[in-house]
């Protein structure tokens, strides 16, 4: 198996099944159409990773942003109780339109919960750990094109610009077709990275935007990404729209940097092995990074060797005596 075939095969294990992705999109679109039919709604759009096609499987939740007409809700946008009021309003509206028992538009929503920024709508039994949810967010469009969204806990409205990230991802993808699939691969990788407290998926997505090249093959790109990200993560991972600050302030920066550096080492050796025509070793090295789902041949039987210690995946290369002056 060649390197490209192996990446293709691995990608299939990372990507969500097309049927499930389609179902998630249909469910999201149901919310978009239902709410857009309301007189006080100006626009609706999908946000979150599904809208950027960088979603990791399984798809449990999708995000929908509902932009309201400020003239219909003059009190919204001011700090104070209007943040919670707006979320309660959305909840009532969703139930009226989509409730399982008496929705006027469809009968899909079994349960709703008001969270800090959004109303979580359960389409399955809320007790089911795999329950599918749609997060509905209320928003007001500001003059500069960004949004104001309610924050219940701090009783205020905060600026956000989810469309900026959607645009950035689409732009990178236009330049380089491997971008979105590899973001999914990196989000998967993060689940196994030895990092205290976990890594938010948005952290990986933003690092990918900052560190992934816009040309070249997947091996070279990942080698570049891991190397650069090991440095960049120390600088903090910030909202690319410049509105929301650090994405995960309590991120274990040093631990993640070390994990990236280890992956960069392996990726560099994999690229060297591939360049020398040793595809099998290259695949084994990629497998060390991405786990057993990455297809690679079994390691060859260890040849008798005078060199003791841990067996090397690649035998050391002798230097050529070809001086350059």
């Amino acid at each position: 198996m060649g390197i490209d075939d192996a990446f293709d095969a691995f990608q299939k294990t990372v990507n969500e099944d097309i049927g499930k992705t389609r179902l998630a999109r249909e469910r999201r679109d149901l919310f978009k159409t239902a709410l857009l039919s309301e007189p006080d709604v100006v626009e609706t759009f999908g946000s979150g990773s599904l809208s950027r096609s960088t979603q990791l499987k399984p798809i449990h939740d999708v995000d929908v942003v509902i932009v309201y007409d400020p003239d219909e809700h003059p009190e919204w946008g001011n700090d104070g109780p209007s943040a919670q009021d707006a979320l309660e309003y959305v909840r009532t509206q969703v139930n009226r339109l989509l409730s399982q028992t008496n929705g006027t538009h469809a009968n899909e929503v079994r349960h709703t919960l008001v969270r800090n920024h959004a109303v979580k709508c359960f389409l399955d039994d809320p007790e089911d750990p795999e329950a599918f949810t749609v997060d509905v967010m209320a928003a007001l469009r500001q003059e500069d094109g960004s949004l104001l969204i309610p924050e219940k806990l701090n009783t205020r409205w905060v600026p956000a610009n989810p469309e900026y990230l959607i645009g950035q991802v689409a732009d990178h993808q236009r330049d380089w077709p491997h971008f979105r699939p590899l973001v999914r691969v990196l989000k998967q990788w993060r689940l196994t990275a030895p990092v205290q407290g976990g890594i938010k998926s948005l952290v990986m997505e933003v690092l990918a935007l900052n560190c992934m090249p816009r040309s070249g093959n997947r091996s070279q790109a990942l080698k570049t990404f891991f190397t650069a990200a090991a440095v960049r993560v120390h600088e903090g991972v910030w909202d690319p729209a410049g509105l929301c600050g650090q994405i995960q302030p309590d991120l274990d920066h040093a631990g993640l940097s070390d994990a990236f550096a280890d992956a960069a080492d392996l990726a560099e050796r994999a690229c060297v092995a591939a360049a020398e025509g040793d595809t099998d070793n290259a695949l084994r090295l990629w497998q060390k990074i991405f786990g057993d789902d990455f297809p690679a041949p079994a390691a060859p039987a260890k040849p008798a060797s005078l060199i003791t210690g841990t067996p090397a995946l690649i035998t050391p290369r002798p230097i050529k005596d070809a001086p350059q002056g």
Partner: protein
């Protein structure tokens, strides 16, 4: 004799027909000639002198008709290669005549210089590296090859494209604070790596006593060091644009701070504690890595400090304090003085080339830092603090206890110390 064929001349040969006349500017003391004019067939000779700055020869020698050029078959150029290897070998004139399909001129008593253009040579001898433009001495008795060199289409750092990340570095902007002995050599080294934009900051002028260590020549005495350096680099490394600022980093900190918004990395080769501290402070505030280079112990030890603006990495002061507490460093009194109030440095006693060795390592550290951040795993450094033995001395305290001259030791960063005005957020 070596015949130089500058870019415009080479382009003209390649675009012309079967034959023409040739004029050369010849310097007999140098045993050197430059193609100065070319005609198409029997037409008039048109100048192909390169635009300024022109080779030295153009100023000193008149251009005069000296020969002919011909379009030739590829085998003639293979013959040129073979005859060159067998020095002094001549061939009968007929072989040359046969290789030149039209326009051949029979030589007079003194013979003439001929340049041949073989347009098909790359196809006929792929990967041989045979040039498509070569030169000959043609006499009645026979013909012999002459050394010729055509200016390649690509010169400068772009020649290394594919082997070196030229594009990334051409887009890199580095500020260099300090244009003295280490600084001047660092500037040359950074330009040598292909860094596209350098901003040089130093208020000093080149003085007599600097000549023993500085890269600038005596004719620049009295000028600002940054001006002299910028001029020399423009001539030597045209791929690097240089801004020369005769400013003091402490006095003009606000000006420098504004410039850092457009800078990727700062290198500080200034001597004295205060300018180093100010540079490190400004870089950290701007979120930039600073690379500080100096020599210690009267030039016995070279030191490179990489200060990254990261939470776990302490600033210059924090690192110095940590070293001092561990007994490794005897801090100068100035270390604790406020910005701008430190004592002047001791007179420099190191030899120039030792300082230049430190400068090369500083430039390598800076460039590797930029490239690692851009994703080049082959440019990762082993640490944040390098010590280089220049004149090994026994009994230094660790980590300065290098056993040998030219020994290189890399140490990790040390964390910020509490209460540090540079490391703690403003």
């Amino acid at each position: 004799m070596l015949i130089l064929i500058p870019q415009d001349a080479a382009t003209t040969f390649r675009a012309s027909g079967a034959w023409g006349r040739l004029s050369l500017r010849i310097s007999h003391p140098d045993d050197l000639a430059v193609v100065g004019g070319i005609s198409e067939g029997g037409g008039s000779i048109i100048s192909v002198d390169p635009p300024p700055p022109a080779p030295r020869l153009l100023a000193g020698c008149d251009s005069r008709p000296t020969g002919y050029w011909y379009q030739a078959n590829s085998e003639l150029h293979a013959l040129w290669y073979l005859l060159r290897a067998r020095r002094g070998t001549s061939m009968k004139l007929d072989a040359f005549k046969d290789a030149v399909p039209s326009g051949f001129k029979t030589p007079g008593d003194g013979g003439y210089v001929a340049i041949t253009h073989a347009p098909g040579v790359k196809d006929a001898f792929p990967e041989s590296g045979l040039p498509d433009l070569v030169a000959w001495h043609v006499t009645r008795a026979g013909f012999q090859p002459i050394e010729a060199s055509a200016e390649p289409e690509t010169t400068g750092i772009r020649q290394l494209g594919g082997h070196w990340p030229v594009k990334e570095l051409q887009n890199t902007r580095i500020m260099l604070v300090g244009a003295g002995s280490i600084g001047s050599a660092t500037a040359h080294a950074l330009a040598g790596y292909g860094v596209g934009h350098l901003t040089l900051v130093d208020p000093d002028r080149l003085d007599w006593h600097n000549l023993v260590r500085h890269t600038s020549a005596r004719r620049h005495i009295g000028r600002h060091k940054v001006t002299a350096l910028a001029e020399e680099l423009a001539a030597l490394r045209p791929d690097t644009t240089v801004s020369a600022l005769a400013l003091d980093v402490i006095e003009h900190a606000d000006h420098i701070r504004a410039l850092l918004a457009d800078t990727h990395l700062v290198v500080c080769t200034a001597d004295g504690v205060a300018p180093r501290r100010v540079t490190g402070h400004l870089a950290r505030r701007a979120g930039l890595t600073a690379v500080l280079a100096c020599v210690l112990q009267d030039g016995a030890l070279g030191e490179i400090l990489r200060l990254r603006p990261w939470p776990q990495h302490g600033c210059l002061t924090c690192r110095r304090r940590t070293l001092a507490e561990a007994g490794g460093l005897d801090p100068e009194l100035a270390l604790d003085a406020g910005y701008g109030t430190g004592t002047r440095h001791r007179p420099m006693t190191a030899v120039g080339s030792d300082l230049h060795l430190v400068a090369q390592l500083a430039a390598k550290t800076a460039v590797a830092t930029v490239l690692q951040r851009a994703g080049h795993p082959d440019q990762r450094l082993p640490g944040e603090h390098a010590l280089l033995g220049l004149r090994r001395q026994p009994d230094w305290a660790p980590p300065f206890d290098l056993g040998h001259t030219a020994e290189l030791r890399w140490l990790p960063a040390t964390p910020p110390r509490s209460g540090c005005p540079t490391c703690e957020a403003p």
